[in-house]
């Protein structure tokens, strides 16, 4: 367990606490200092420092040659990232909103994700694709999606979804050093941006020195015995808050932060459910055919007998994301829904 994101965790005195945005930028900068092949490109990642702050300070240190503002041409620069990566560079490229994948997905899932396979492993594609996810702030149905399942479903891409700044930095370092494409999905409401409602528990102590966090290792961010709550990104925070509420009712919840969807740490999930006997999956992505079903299947396929109750999911309903605040908040996962899900479990 590398970090605790529980809202109960209190900061130590003089501890350096940074946002996910800053942790991402710091990781990229540290890798850029030691590896001249690393460069950043995307929309508004230069002077602006990224709409979500995750490239702030880079252009000042590394200049516009290595921190490239692109035209609004995702098809071109995603394709270019593949070509540059195959030619020995290590591009970190930003898709401003994951919702925009529709304008350039061919370059992502048909090129970036498949060229290693099509070349029998002869070609490497060390691209990190950073993209923002998540809603909750009334940005409408083309600027609020998560789409974790879409990227995790299609083979050839590693998928990273940090829930806090410590993980954000260590996972970014691992992503940049990986020779395969990595989709680095950061949740807007965890970024610590002042103008965007933000989850304070995502801003945590982050060491200044470089460190890496391996992919495929989930974190048990809260230990418990009665139910396992599994999620990523904002889902982890909702899970932790639900665990506090359940604790007040005398129920001990274990919360698992998957951290990466590809590779997926199925063992940690299974071992936890084996202990607790109950499973709730929290997912801000659409419910059907996605993460929540995959996690439940993971347990069910391995050994159904560990389950004391039918698993539950608290996921986004299969609807486009509505604008109006009451409608969007109605649809989003939240701690109360997780508590309700626990009580709604059908005992076997």
């Amino acid at each position: 367990m590398s970090t605790l994101t529980s809202t109960a965790a209190k900061p130590k005195q003089n501890e350096r606490r940074v946002t996910i945005a800053r942790a991402m930028a710091e990781a990229v900068a540290q890798e850029m200092r030691i590896d001249p092949r690393v460069f950043v490109m995307g929309e508004d990642i230069g002077q602006l420092g990224g709409v979500y702050g995750n490239t702030r300070g880079l252009i000042e240190e590394f200049g516009p040659e290595r921190v490239r503002d692109t035209p609004i041409s995702e098809t071109a620069f995603m394709g270019a990232a593949v070509g540059a990566a195959s030619d020995g560079m290590r591009p970190v490229v930003e898709l401003m909103f994951v919702d925009f994948f529709g304008v350039c997905f061919d370059a992502i899932y048909n090129l970036m994700a498949k060229n290693i396979y099509f070349s029998g492993g002869e070609v490497k594609v060390p691209v990190v694709l950073m993209t923002s996810t998540g809603g909750g702030y009334s940005d409408g149905g083309q600027h609020s999606q998560c789409l974790y399942g879409t990227f995790a479903h299609l083979p050839g891409m590693k998928v990273v979804c940090p829930s806090n700044a410590y993980d954000a930095k260590g996972l970014m370092v691992t992503a940049i050093r990986d020779d395969s494409p990595v989709i680095y999905m950061y949740h807007k409401s965890l970024q610590g941006m002042g103008w965007l409602g933000t989850e304070p528990a995502a801003t945590v102590n982050v060491p200044e020195e470089t460190y890496s966090i391996p992919f495929g290792k989930a974190a048990v961010v809260r230990e418990g015995n009665d139910v396992t709550i599994v999620g990523v990104a904002m889902g982890v925070h909702n899970g932790l808050k639900a665990a506090d509420k359940l604790a007040a009712q005398g129920i001990s919840a274990e919360v698992i932060d998957l951290r990466t969807l590809v590779p997926l740490d199925r063992d940690t999930v299974f071992n936890s459910v084996k202990k607790t006997g109950r499973l709730i999956v929290v997912d801000e992505d659409y419910q059907s055919f996605g993460l929540s079903g995959e996690i439940i299947a993971t347990v069910a396929e391995r050994d159904l007998s560990v389950l004391k109750a039918s698993p539950q999911r608290v996921a986004y309903p299969d609807i486009p994301i509505p604008f109006a605040r009451p409608m969007e908040q109605f649809a989003l996962p939240n701690p109360d829904k997780i508590v309700e899900a626990f009580h709604a479990m059908k005992r076997t």
């Binding site: 460069f39 030619d87 020995g88 290693i116 029998g120 050839g156």
Partner: protein
């Protein structure tokens, strides 16, 4: 810039290799597919897009390229791969889907990658543009020599990828050349029915880069124009666009009955087959004698025969190897 005699012979020989390869693949492809044509049958299953007639586009450009230069090809890639120097044995083995193929059988004929000569291709229209631009960016950033060439068809010019990548290459002044092989047909739809301008080279104006139209499917003229564009790119003066009027002497894919072709078109194109024309030119202008021609033909034939034999005789990978090489 005119080709030397040696360069003409090189172009001629590589056109022959490409044509012999396609003619041999055509025969083998039909094995197991008669009397009933089923694409899934025979030693070479799947779609097969032959490049007969388009060889000048490959040799006229690639005659200027070194192994370090980058080329992305199309779904119709064989002639370009041959001219770029892709390992022919491994390429043919890949077309057969064998373990000894470029990717061990994972890619097939539309997905040929040879990192040793920086060649890649893909099956989706216009898709090679972005990666070639990215490779050009890589060379510029690393201050390493090399240009990048993206081959696309005239139909791909109507894809957004063409516009986005041309603009990006121009705004970043990259060592990039887009070569449009205009064979007049996007599968069954004529260029005149799909494209608002007759001549795609004028689209270069939209990006502030030089645009050239090469008529006549003439390797020497392609060589001349490509040479200017490639030299310009090597000097760091930015990208160019070339449209080449070429001929598709085969169907879009094998099994295409080509009912959409006007009567007489194919015969007229065959009468202008660029390979006999190149032979005649070498004989008329460069003193090539029949014996030299025979030797060139024999070399090309032997190279193809060797690769075909290698591909045919190679084993398939174990099926479970399909599960490997998803990640680096």
């Amino acid at each position: 810039m005119q080709p030397t005699r040696d360069q003409k012979v090189w172009m001629y020989e590589n056109m022959l290799v490409s044509r012999f390869l396609e003619e041999t693949i055509e025969q083998i492809y039909l094995e197991g597919k008669k009397p009933v044509f089923n694409m899934a049958n025979g030693p070479i299953p799947g779609e097969m897009h032959l490049s007969n007639g388009q060889e000048p586009c490959a040799v006229g450009v690639c005659a200027h390229l070194k192994p370090e230069d980058v080329v992305t090809g199309t779904h119709r890639p064989h002639h370009i791969a041959v001219a770029k120097g892709v390992n022919l044995r491994k390429m043919v083995a890949e077309i057969f889907g064998k373990k000894t193929g470029l990717s061990g059988g994972r890619g097939g004929h539309m997905h040929l990658f040879d990192a040793n000569v920086n060649f890649a291709c893909s099956g989706i229209i216009g898709q090679g543009m972005g990666p070639a631009v990215g490779a050009a960016l890589s060379r510029k950033m690393q201050k390493k020599p090399g240009v990048a060439v993206a081959y696309i068809g005239e139909g791909a010019v109507n894809q957004g990828a063409f516009h986005e990548a041309m603009n990006l290459a121009a705004v970043w002044k990259l060592p990039f050349i887009c070569v449009i092989e205009d064979n007049q047909w996007g599968i069954s739809v004529a260029k005149s029915a799909s494209t608002a301008v007759k001549d795609n080279s004028i689209r270069a104006q939209a990006y502030g880069v030089p645009g050239y139209l090469v008529k006549g499917n003439d390797p020497c003229e392609i060589f001349r124009v490509a040479g200017e564009c490639i030299e310009r790119a090597r000097r760091g003066e930015g990208p160019s666009l070339i449209e080449i009027e070429t001929s598709r002497l085969a169907g879009h894919f094998m099994g295409d009955a080509e009912g959409y072709r006007p009567k007489g078109e194919l015969d007229a194109l065959r009468a202008r087959d660029p390979i006999p024309a190149m032979k005649a030119r070498l004989m008329a202008e460069d003193g090539m004698k029949q014996e030299e021609n025979d030797a060139i033909v024999a070399r090309a034939r032997a190279k193809v025969d060797d690769a075909i034999q290698f591909g045919r005789e190679s084993p398939y990978a174990q099926p479970e190897e399909a599960l490997e090489k998803v990640f680096a």
